[in-house]
C-alpha cells in the first residue's frame, strides 16, 4: 500500500487558527445564524433546476415500459420522428455504453435496448419544440414487447427464474452475497447463558424530495454543460464523459439549488444522460423534468429488508456473540446496492461491543424500480431489527432494556471487532440526556400510552470513494484579494446547509463576518472536486478542506500584519475584520502587493488505518462516528390500532455545534422522515405496478401529524472533525424508528416486528395475543439463502484495540 499523502486525515485542531496564532474563542462558529439560502427559499426567489430556461430549449419526454419484465422485440419510432415539431428521437441503440454509480456496478443503460426490467424503465426519448408535442409524439411510438414472467419478491428471486434471470451473468437473480465472520461466533454462542433469535421486515420507501428531478443540457463550442438537481455532480461528470465518449475537459456539471435529495439524486439518472446526448445531437438546449410518478420509477430508495438476528448474552447482559442475516430486495438494478448490502452489517459493532460477529447478506434483483441509497443508507433496517431484538433480549434476561444496552456500549478511542476505528463517542451522554429529558424511567403507566427508547451510530462520510483512487475526497479553492473573499468547492448544498458551513469556517479563520464570504459550489467547471453530498460526508470533509485553505491565507495575512506592525505573528489577534493592527483589507492589500494574486487550496481525505483489510472492509469505515438516542412518547389505540405520536426527544452527538439552526433543522427532518417510515411510507407493488405512484396515495405524515420535538445536543469535540464537528444529516434518523415500535409495545404489550406499523398490524398482534398466541405481527421466517462460507477475519488484538 502506498504511503498516504500529507493531506490525508490531517488533524487541523479544534479551534480557529490552531497552532498558528492567538485565538480567543469562536466568533462565527456556534452562533445560531440563518442559512445563506434561507431568504431565497422562503420567498420563492431560488431558481431550481426546473426554473432554468434558455431560448429555443427543447422539451424531452421519456416513453417508459408498461411491463415489469419483457424483451424488446422491435421499436418503431418513424411516426414520432416525422411529427411536426419533433427534433430528435433516441433509443437504446443511440446510448450503448453502460454506467452506474459505483465502479463495480456498471449495469445501467439510459434507454433500454434488449429488455425492460421494471415498469417505468425509459425506452425511447423524444425531444420536441415543446412538452405537449413531445408527449403526443411518444404515443406514436410502437414498441413490440415479448412479455416475461416477472420476479416480484425476495423469496421468488431466490428460486430458479421462471423465464430467464433479470440480468445476464448472475446466479439466478442474486445480485450480491456477502459473508463475514469476526472472532469465534460459535464459541460466543456456546458460552452464552441466553440465546435469542428474531425475524424482522422493513418496507421500502421513496425519498420523497419535494423537488422532482430536472436537468437541462447545452452543447456549445465543443463543451457540454448540464444543469441538474444532482447530489453528486462530480460522479455525474465522470459518467457523462464515459457514456458520451467525451474527455472530462469537455463536460461541465452544475448542481442547481435543491428541493431535497436524501439519496435520491446520487445515482446518475437516465434523463440526465438522455438530455446530454440530445444536446450534443441537436445543438440546442434540452430539458427534462420528471413527474412525481417518474420519480417513483427512478426511485433508488430504501431497500425492503428481511432480517434475522441471533444474539447470545451472559446473564449479566454482556453480549457474547451476534449473527445477523439480511436479504435485500434491490429492484431491477445494482445502483449502490453493493454498498447498501455491506452497510446493513457494518454498524452493529460500532454501537455495541460485540466480541464475535457473523454477518451474512444477500441482495436480489426483482422487477421493480431500482432501490439505492436513502438517508441512513442500509442502516435504518438493521437498526430497527437490532434495537427491537435487544428489547426482547432484555425481556428474556429480566433486565431493563436500557441497562442491557449500556453494559454493551462501545467505548471512545477503541477499535471494533470489524476493525472500525472509534474516536470521539458520546453514546453514554446521548443516552443520559434523552432519558433525563423525557423522564423515561418514570413514565406514566396507562393502557395505550407508551414510551420507547433506542440508540444508534452513524458515520461521518464514507472512508472510501465510489471509484478507487488515492485522490482527495474534497478540495477547496480560496480566492482572497482587494475584491473580497470567495470560497470554491464542489460540495453540493442539497438543503443540509453545506454552503453555509463553508462560509462559516472560512469567516471564522479569516476573522470576518459570515456575510463577507462568497460561496461558489457544485460546479465541476468552476469548483475543485468534492465527491458529493452523500454518506454525511460534507461538513466533515469539505469543512476540513475549507479550514485547510483558509489557514494558509490566515498565515499569509498574519505574516503581513506582523511585518507591517513589527509585532510577532502569535501576538496578533484575528477577528472582527482585523489582523492585529491592520484591517482585513489592509492586510490583504499588503499581501497582494508583495505576493501578487492570492489564492490557496485545501484538501481532505480520511486518514489511513480506519478500516480492516478484507473484502467488504471499504463499506462502514468513516473518519468519525456520531451517536444518537431517542425517546418516543405515543398513544396507541387498542380498538383501532391507530397511533398518535405526542413527542420525540432526540439527543445527538454532534461533535461540535457549528450552527444550532442547521443542526436543529437536520434533526427535525430526520425525525419527520423516521416517523414516516415507522408509521406510513411504503413503496409497494400490486399486480407488479406501483401501489402508490402519487403523493396523495403514497402517505407521508403532514405538518399536522408532526409531534413536538425536543432537541438535545452532546458535544464530544472530535479530534479530526472541523473544529471537532461531526455529521447530523442521517444519524438522528436511526433511533426513532425502533423507539416508535418499542413505545407501541410499551403501550399495548405487543410487538410489531415489521415497519411501517399500520393500524391493521397492531390489531393483528392484539388479536393473536387474545387468541392465546404470541402477541406479535411480522414475518415468520428468513428464507433459505445460498450464503457462501464466511470470510473469517481475525479481530483486532486487545493491545491494538485502543486507538
Amino acid at each position: 500500500m502506498r504511503p498516504p499523502p500529507p493531506w490525508a486525515g490531517r488533524r487541523l485542531g479544534t479551534e480557529p487558527g490552531d497552532g498558528d496564532a492567538l485565538s480567543d474563542g469562536f466568533q462565527v462558529v456556534g452562533k445560531a445564524l440563518p442559512r445563506l439560502d434561507a431568504l431565497g427559499k422562503v420567498t420563492g426567489a431560488t431558481r431550481y433546476a426546473d426554473d432554468l430556461s434558455w431560448p429555443g430549449t427543447l422539451a424531452c419526454v421519456l416513453l417508459r415500459s408498461p411491463h415489469p419484465h419483457a424483451r424488446i422485440v422491435a421499436v418503431d419510432t418513424a411516426a414520432a420522428a416525422a411529427t411536426k415539431g419533433v427534433v430528435a428521437v433516441l433509443t437504446g441503440a443511440d446510448l450503448p455504453v453502460r454506467y452506474g454509480a459505483i465502479a463495480t456496478s456498471q449495469d445501467e443503460a439510459a434507454l433500454a435496448s434488449d429488455k425492460v426490467r421494471y415498469v417505468g424503465e425509459p425506452v425511447v426519448a423524444v425531444a420536441a419544440v415543446d412538452e405537449v408535442t413531445a408527449r403526443e409524439a411518444t404515443k406514436k411510438i410502437a414498441v413490440d414487447y415479448e412479455v416475461l414472467a416477472p420476479v416480484s419478491s425476495i423469496e421468488q428471486a431466490l428460486l430458479a427464474p421462471a423465464d430467464e434471470p433479470i440480468h445476464e451473468g448472475t446466479k439466478g437473480n442474486i445480485h450480491r452475497l456477502a459473508a463475514l465472520e469476526f472472532g469465534d461466533v460459535d464459541e460466543g454462542f456456546a458460552v452464552a447463558d441466553v440465546v435469542r433469535e428474531d425475524v424482522f421486515f422493513y418496507e421500502g420507501s421513496n425519498h420523497l424530495a419535494m423537488e422532482e428531478h430536472s436537468a437541462t443540457a447545452i452543447f456549445a463550442d465543443g463543451q457540454l454543460t448540464l444543469w441538474s438537481s444532482t447530489q453528486a455532480p462530480h460522479n455525474l461528470h465522470r459518467v457523462l464523459a464515459k457514456v458520451l465518449d467525451l474527455p472530462m475537459t469537455r463536460v461541465r456539471v452544475v448542481a442547481t439549488p435543491h428541493g431535497g435529495g436524501f439519496g435520491g439524486k446520487v445515482d446518475p439518472a437516465a434523463h440526465e444522460v438522455v438530455v446530454s446526448k440530445l444536446a450534443v445531437l441537436t445543438g440546442r438546449p434540452v430539458k427534462c423534468t420528471l413527474s412525481r410518478e417518474e420519480v417513483f420509477y427512478n426511485h433508488r430508495g430504501r431497500h425492503p429488508a428481511l432480517m434475522w438476528v441471533r444474539t447470545g448474552a451472559a446473564r449479566d447482559g454482556q453480549i457474547t456473540a451476534m449473527h445477523f442475516r439480511v436479504a435485500l430486495d434491490g429492484g431491477a438494478l445494482a445502483s449502490l446496492g453493493a454498498a447498501t448490502t455491506y452497510y446493513t452489517g457494518a454498524l452493529q459493532p460500532a454501537t455495541y461491543d460485540i466480541p464475535a460477529y457473523r454477518f451474512e447478506a444477500c441482495r436480489v434483483f426483482t422487477n421493480k424500480a431500482p432501490c439505492g441509497p436513502k438517508r441512513g443508507h442500509g442502516t435504518p433496517q438493521p437498526r430497527f431489527a437490532l434495537e427491537i431484538h435487544l428489547d426482547k433480549l432484555a425481556e428474556d434476561l429480566g433486565m431493563d432494556p436500557v441497562a442491557l444496552r449500556r453494559c454493551n456500549y462501545v467505548r471512545p478511542q477503541s477499535r471494533t471487532v470489524n476493525w472500525l476505528r472509534i474516536t470521539s463517542c458520546g453514546i453514554e451522554e446521548v443516552t443520559e440526556k434523552v432519558l433525563a429529558a423525557s423522564g423515561f424511567a418514570t413514565r406514566s403507566r396507562r393502557v395505550g400510552h407508551g414510551q420507547g427508547f433506542a440508540v444508534s451510530a452513524y458515520l461521518c462520510g464514507a472512508g472510501f470513494p465510489m471509484y478507487p483512487s488515492q485522490l482527495p475526497h474534497s478540495e477547496v479553492g480560496l480566492k482572497v484579494d482587494r475584491g473580497g473573499v470567495t470560497v470554491f468547492c464542489g460540495a453540493t448544498d442539497i438543503g443540509q446547509g453545506s454552503d453555509t458551513v463553508l462560509a462559516t469556517v472560512v469567516a471564522e479563520e479569516l476573522g470576518l463576518d459570515r456575510a463577507d464570504v462568497r460561496v461558489v459550489t457544485a460546479d465541476t467547471g468552476l469548483t475543485p472536486v468534492d465527491l458529493g453530498s452523500y454518506s454525511s460526508r460534507v461538513t466533515f470533509m469539505a469543512g476540513n478542506a475549507a479550514i485547510d485553505a483558509a489557514r494558509k491565507i490566515r498565515t499569509l495575512l498574519l505574516e503581513e500584519a506582523a511585518r507591517t506592525s513589527g509585532l510577532l505573528a502569535h501576538e496578533l489577534r484575528v477577528g472582527d475584520g482585523r489582523f492585529g493592527p491592520l484591517s482585513f483589507e489592509q492586510a490583504v492589500e499588503a499581501a497582494e502587493e508583495r505576493h501578487g494574486a492570492l489564492s490557496a487550496s485545501g484538501s481532505y481525505a480520511p486518514p489511513p488505518g480506519i478500516s480492516g483489510e478484507f473484502r467488504g472492509s471499504a463499506v462502514g469505515p468513516g473518519p468519525a462516528y456520531t451517536y444518537s438516542a431517542a425517546v418516543v412518547d405515543l398513544d396507541a389505540d387498542p380498538t383501532t390500532g391507530e397511533v398518535l405520536v405526542h413527542k420525540v426527544w432526540v439527543a445527538h452527538d454532534i461533535g461540535r455545534l457549528l450552527n444550532p439552526v442547521l443542526v436543529r433543522g437536520q434533526m427535525d427532518g430526520n425525525v419527520y422522515m423516521a416517523l414516516a417510515e415507522a408509521l406510513m411510507e411504503s413503496q409497494t407493488y400490486r399486480k407488479d405496478l406501483l401501489h402508490h405512484p402519487s403523493v396523495l396515495e403514497y402517505k407521508t405524515p403532514l405538518a399536522t401529524d408532526m409531534p413536538a420535538i425536543e432537541h438535545l445536543y452532546v458535544e464530544t469535540i472530535d479530534p479530526e472533525g472541523p473544529y471537532g464537528a461531526k455529521e447530523v444529516g442521517q444519524g438522528p434518523f436511526l433511533p426513532v424508528v425502533p423507539a416508535v415500535v418499542s413505545a407501541i409495545h410499551d403501550a399495548l404489550g405487543v410487538w410489531v416486528d415489521e415497519v411501517p406499523v399500520t393500524p391493521e398490524k397492531i390489531l393483528r398482534a392484539l388479536d393473536a395475543r387474545d387468541r392465546g398466541a404470541l402477541g406479535r405481527a411480522g414475518p415468520k421466517r428468513f428464507p433459505a439463502v445460498p450464503f457462501p462460507p464466511c470470510i473469517k477475519v481475525e479481530p483486532p488484538h486487545a493491545a491494538t484495540a485502543r486507538v
Binding site: R64, P66, H67, V119, E131, V132, E212, T289, S291, R292, E293, D635, D637, T639, T640, G641, E642, L644, M680, K687, L689, L690, H691, H692, P693, S694, L696, E697, K699, P701, L702, T704, D705, T758, P759, E760, L763
Partner: protein, 334 residues
C-alpha cells in the same frame, strides 16, 4: 409535472346560460367551480372535456341564507371555507359544518365548493392514476377502454367509492338539493341524487346543474360525523359515519344514520335507525346499532390501508359517532 389537456373555457353569465352551454356541448362539457376534483382528474386524463363552463362566480350560487328557524340554503358555489366561517351556520347547522371542516385541507377548502363536494367523483386506486399507469394495468370499467373491474374482476359493475364527507351528514340532516335543468328547477332529497354505481353515481342529466343545498332546521338535534382517515388532513374518507338524532329524555325520538366511503353511494341505515327509534340510547343500543350498521359496509381493496381493517373500523366509527351524539365520551385519539 402533470399538465392539463387543452380545453375551451366558457364563462357562464347565469345558471340558465351555463345549462345552455352544457346542452350545446352534448355531454362533452363540464362545470367548473372550485376545480379541486375535476382538474386533477383532467391532469390524469380520466376526464377530457372539450369545454369547462365556469360557474364559480355566479352570484345566486354564492349566497348563504339562514332562516330564523335555523333552516339554511347554501348556493352550490359557496366555498367550503366560506361555509365554515359563517357564524349563522355555526350556530344552527353544526353537524353539517363538522363534516365540512374535515374535508381535505385548508387550502383545498378555500377553493372547493359545497356543491362540488356533494358531487365529488367516486374514487378507486385502480382508476385515480395517470394515463400511463392505467395503460399498464389494462384500464378498468370506470374510464377509458377497460373491459373489467380491476378490484373485482368478475364483477359487471364499477366499485369506485363514494368519497364525499359532507353528503352523508347532509343526508342524515334530511337535506334536499335544488337542481336546475331545461324544465326548470326541481328539489329532491339529497339521498336520491345518488345511485349505487361507481361509474355513474350522480342522477343528474347532462345539462342539469345542482344549484343549492337546503338544510332543514335541526335545532336541538344531536349530531356527529366521524371520519376514518390515515392522516389528520388532506385524505379522503376511508369510511365516514354521520349521525343525526333527536332525543326525548334519553329516548330516541327521531334518527338518521348514514355511512360514507363504504360503497359507491352513501349508505343510509334505515333499518338500524328505525330500530333505534323509541329506544333508550344506552351502551347496549349503541353497540347493537353499530354492529348492525357495519354489516352493510362492503369495502374492497381499492382504497388506502387494509380493507378488512376498514370494514372492522366501520363499526368503531359508527359507535363513536353514536356515543358522541348521545353525549358520551368521544373516546378516540384525534
Amino acid at each position: 409535472m402533470l399538465r392539463l389537456p387543452a380545453f375551451e373555457h366558457l364563462r357562464a353569465e347565469s345558471v340558465r346560460d351555463a345549462a345552455g352551454m352544457l346542452a350545446d356541448h352534448g355531454g362533452t362539457a363540464r362545470l367548473l367551480a372550485g376545480g379541486t376534483d375535476l382538474l386533477a382528474k383532467m391532469k390524469r386524463r380520466q376526464v377530457m372535456p372539450d369545454a369547462l363552463v365556469g360557474i364559480g362566480h355566479l352570484a345566486p350560487l354564492r349566497e348563504v341564507r339562514v332562516a330564523p328557524s335555523g333552516a339554511a340554503e347554501l348556493g352550490a358555489a359557496v366555498t367550503l371555507a366560506e361555509a365554515l366561517a359563517d357564524r349563522r351556520l355555526a350556530a344552527d347547522q353544526p353537524g353539517y359544518l363538522e363534516a365540512v371542516g374535515v374535508v381535505s385541507s385548508p387550502a383545498l377548502r378555500n377553493a372547493g365548493t359545497i356543491g362540488g363536494n356533494l358531487c365529488v367523483d367516486t374514487r378507486c386506486n385502480y382508476n385515480d392514476m395517470t394515463e400511463e399507469w392505467r395503460h399498464a394495468v389494462g384500464y378498468c370499467l370506470k374510464t377509458g377502454c377497460g373491459e373489467r373491474c380491476q378490484v373485482a374482476a368478475s364483477s359487471p359493475r364499477c366499485w369506485a367509492i363514494f368519497s364525499s364527507d359532507t353528503a352523508p351528514m347532509a343526508i342524515a340532516l334530511g337535506a334536499t338539493v335544488v337542481v336546475w335543468g331545461a324544465e326548470g328547477e326541481r328539489e329532491l332529497p339529497l339521498g336520491t341524487l345518488y345511485a349505487d354505481d361507481g361509474k355513474a353515481h350522480l342522477q343528474l342529466g347532462p345539462a342539469e346543474i345542482l344549484t343549492a343545498l337546503r338544510l332543514p332546521a335541526r335545532r336541538g338535534w344531536r349530531v356527529a360525523y366521524e371520519k376514518l382517515r390515515r392522516r389528520s388532513a388532506v385524505d379522503f374518507p376511508l369510511a365516514g359515519a354521520a349521525v343525526a338524532l333527536e332525543l326525548d329524555g334519553d329516548v330516541v325520538a327521531a334518527c338518521r344514520l348514514v355511512l360514507g366511503a363504504v360503497a359507491s353511494h352513501p349508505v343510509e341505515l334505515h333499518d338500524v335507525a328505525q330500530a333505534l327509534t323509541g329506544r333508550r340510547l344506552d351502551d347496549e343500543a349503541i353497540e347493537e346499532a353499530a354492529t348492525a350498521g357495519a354489516r352493510l359496509a362492503k369495502p374492497l381493496d381499492n382504497s388506502d390501508l387494509n380493507y378488512v381493517w376498514r370494514k372492522r373500523m366501520v363499526k368503531v366509527i359508527l359507535e363513536r359517532a353514536l356515543r358522541r351524539a348521545a353525549g358520551a365520551d368521544r373516546g378516540r385519539l384525534r
